[in-house]
């Protein structure tokens, strides 16, 4: 009979990989991990491009009061979760500034929505007679407890969200970087912004139950932040974000499997370490992707010549 000590990393990578995927729960973890990484990466590229990391944070947390409310009303928690995620997204989309994403007013709206929803969560907890544990599980997810049904749901969600993103990809990029001109050219900037937030809300609502709030937030922000440090091309940026997201997730799952430490820790640490390394490398090298070039200092509002 195999004991815990048999599950340690060896130099035989193929054997390690077979060991890793030996159990059904790990196979499920990898399948769902892959799907979530791709989805979070694709959505996350736009989140970082638009400067909406705070919105991503809000989306990853705003669902829980909804879940608690649903349980209180004897509905399945996922219904409440999805409802609150959607409502949060709509609130930000409607109450934020019409054209700019990720600005001060939006931050204030996001903070207010998040505070309000967490307050509601407090209320529902008080009213709910059951254990807090079930909702704690939402917070950290259950990457090791993914059923085949969870896999199916994730597949459907990923496909739906990716198709929706692909449909609005071009005008979304336009509205994200140049809203005034996009508006003038006929892009419905506000509608596209709201549509994007709704896609993000759906992606988060479904995946947060599975991978937890920490992980979905990390995957929504970190890979995009890394990728956008390295490239300013949308096509390459999007691809790189997805690649990094997959890398963090697979590596994190694999390393966690052979140790006693939690999966979330490894994924977020790897992501953070990568980001710091990229920033450090750029600061040291000061290559053309840095800021040194001609003429900048001269173009101040005072109009002093170079």
């Amino acid at each position: 009979m195999t004991t815990t000590s048999d599950y340690s990393l060896t130099w035989d990578l193929l054997a390690d990989l077979q060991l890793l995927l030996r159990f059904h729960f790990m196979q499920n973890a990898f399948v769902v991990g892959t799907l979530v990484a791709i989805l979070a990466g694709a959505v996350g590229y736009f989140v970082v491009l638009r400067g909406q990391s705070f919105v991503a944070h809000m989306l990853s947390q705003v669902g829980f009061p909804g879940a608690a409310a649903a349980v209180l009303l004897h509905f399945p928690p996922v219904i409440g979760l999805a409802a609150f995620c959607t409502a949060g997204a709509l609130a930000v989309g409607v109450l934020g500034r019409r054209l700019d994403a990720g600005n001060r007013m939006e931050s204030a709206v996001v903070a207010s929505v998040l505070a309000f929803s967490l307050g509601l969560g407090l209320l529902f907890f008080r009213l709910y007679a059951g254990s807090a544990q079930a909702v704690y599980a939402f917070l950290f997810g259950t990457i090791l407890g993914i059923t085949d049904r969870d896999v199916a749901v994730t597949v459907v969600t990923t496909v739906v969200c990716l198709v929706a993103l692909a449909a609005i990809a071009r005008p979304l990029v336009f509205a994200s970087v140049d809203p005034d001109v996009a508006e003038a050219r006929g892009v419905p900037v506000r509608a596209i912004s709201i549509a994007f937030l709704l896609v993000a809300a759906l992606a988060v609502a479904v995946t947060v139950q599975i991978v937890g709030t920490l992980l979905i937030f990390a995957l929504l922000v970190a890979p995009g932040a890394c990728a956008l440090q390295l490239t300013a091309s949308p096509a390459r940026g999007l691809a790189l974000t997805v690649v990094l997201s997959l890398l963090f997730t697979w590596t994190g799952l694999a390393v966690a499997y052979f140790t006693i430490y939690p999966v979330g820790f490894f994924i977020t640490s790897l992501a953070f370490a990568t980001y710091v390394a990229i920033r450090g490398a750029k600061a040291i090298s000061r290559t053309p992707t840095g800021r040194a070039h001609t003429g900048r200092a001269s173009d101040s509002f005072g109009g002093e010549p170079a």
């Binding site: 071009r170 005008p171 990029v173 050219r185 892009v187 003429g295 001269s298």
Partner: protein, 288 residues
């Protein structure tokens, strides 16, 4: 004022009938229930370089936006190249009054220009090895070349200087093959040498490509040598006139409600002095 053959002031030219680029008839626009301007009759010919002047709040930007279809007319008619004004018209390129791009915005100049071409279409762009896309890439490259931005086209827009950004944005406005350029205070935040070079670029585009130019200016001096006509907005009205009529001390002082002097330099250049208001950082309420 142009030193080449002066344009006759009548609406006919010696030659084939020039096409009307802009036509406004009894036009009026409201903002918050009040008319910004009304009863406006205005004609601009194809290929003309028009400066739009006036004090702040007179509705210069609004005039551009009305012609772009972004702001609807409350009264009257507006036509671009003989057809009713509509939003998303590929024939008109637009440079809105803008802050600088966020220095941390991670998108390349060339991508920004490409967005001007097909950014408003749904879906994803086809990969470049498909024939249709190659033409698009070529279009982008050629317009970037036209504005002289080849060297820095692949750098992030946020890292470019003000003058470089303006060139890229002009390329973005022209990439659809626009026959008209609507520029809202494009020289505002540039230093003197950049003001001159951008003005010259716009003049070249106007002359060589036959592009009609509507340029809202805070300070008319950099473009004074190039303009064919002056449109000025003030006191709820918009009127046009020849540069030599409008660029006069009396006219301008009345127009701005402040002392403005038109001087001639020793080498015959005309300079307008005193029309600067204290430097303002334009706050952008996007609902205006």
């Amino acid at each position: 004022m142009r030193h080449s053959v002066a344009e006759p002031e009548s609406s006919e030219r010696a030659g084939p009938l020039a096409e009307e680029a802009v036509g406004l008839e009894r036009a009026g626009v409201t903002l918050g229930g009040r008319f910004v301007w009304r009863g406006v009759d205005l004609t601009v010919k194809t290929g003309e370089f028009v400066a739009i002047l006036g004090p702040n709040g007179a509705g210069k930007s609004t005039l551009l936006k009305a012609l772009l279809g972004v702001v609807p007319l409350a009264e009257g008619q507006a036509r671009i190249f003989g057809k009713p004004v509509r939003r998303g018209n590929d024939e008109v390129g637009y440079l809105p009054q803008r802050r600088r791009f966020d220095p941390d915005l991670r998108i390349r100049a060339v991508d920004l220009v490409r967005l001007g071409l097909d950014g408003a279409r749904w879906g994803v762009p086809l990969p470049s090895w498909l024939a249709g896309s190659r033409t698009k890439s070529q279009q982008v490259d050629s317009v970037i070349h036209m504005v002289g931005a080849d060297e820095y086209a692949h750098r992030p827009i946020g890292e470019l200087s003000g003058g470089e950004q303006q060139r890229v944005l002009i390329a973005q406005a022209l990439v659809t093959g626009a026959r008209m350029l609507a520029l809202d205070e494009p020289l505002d935040s540039l230093d003197l040498s950049n003001q001159q070079s951008i003005s010259a670029l716009v003049r070249d585009i106007c002359q060589q490509q036959g592009v009609t130019v509507l340029l809202v200016a805070h300070d008319v001096n950099p473009i004074l040598p190039f303009i064919d006509r002056v449109v000025y907005a003030a006191n709820g009205r918009v009127v046009s006139g020849r540069p030599e009529d409008v660029i006069q001390t009396e006219t301008l002082s009345r127009l701005y409600g402040a002392p403005v002097e038109v001087l001639r330099t020793s080498d015959g250049r005309v300079v307008v002095v005193g029309q600067h208001e204290p430097v303002t950082y334009h706050t952008h309420d996007h609902d205006v």
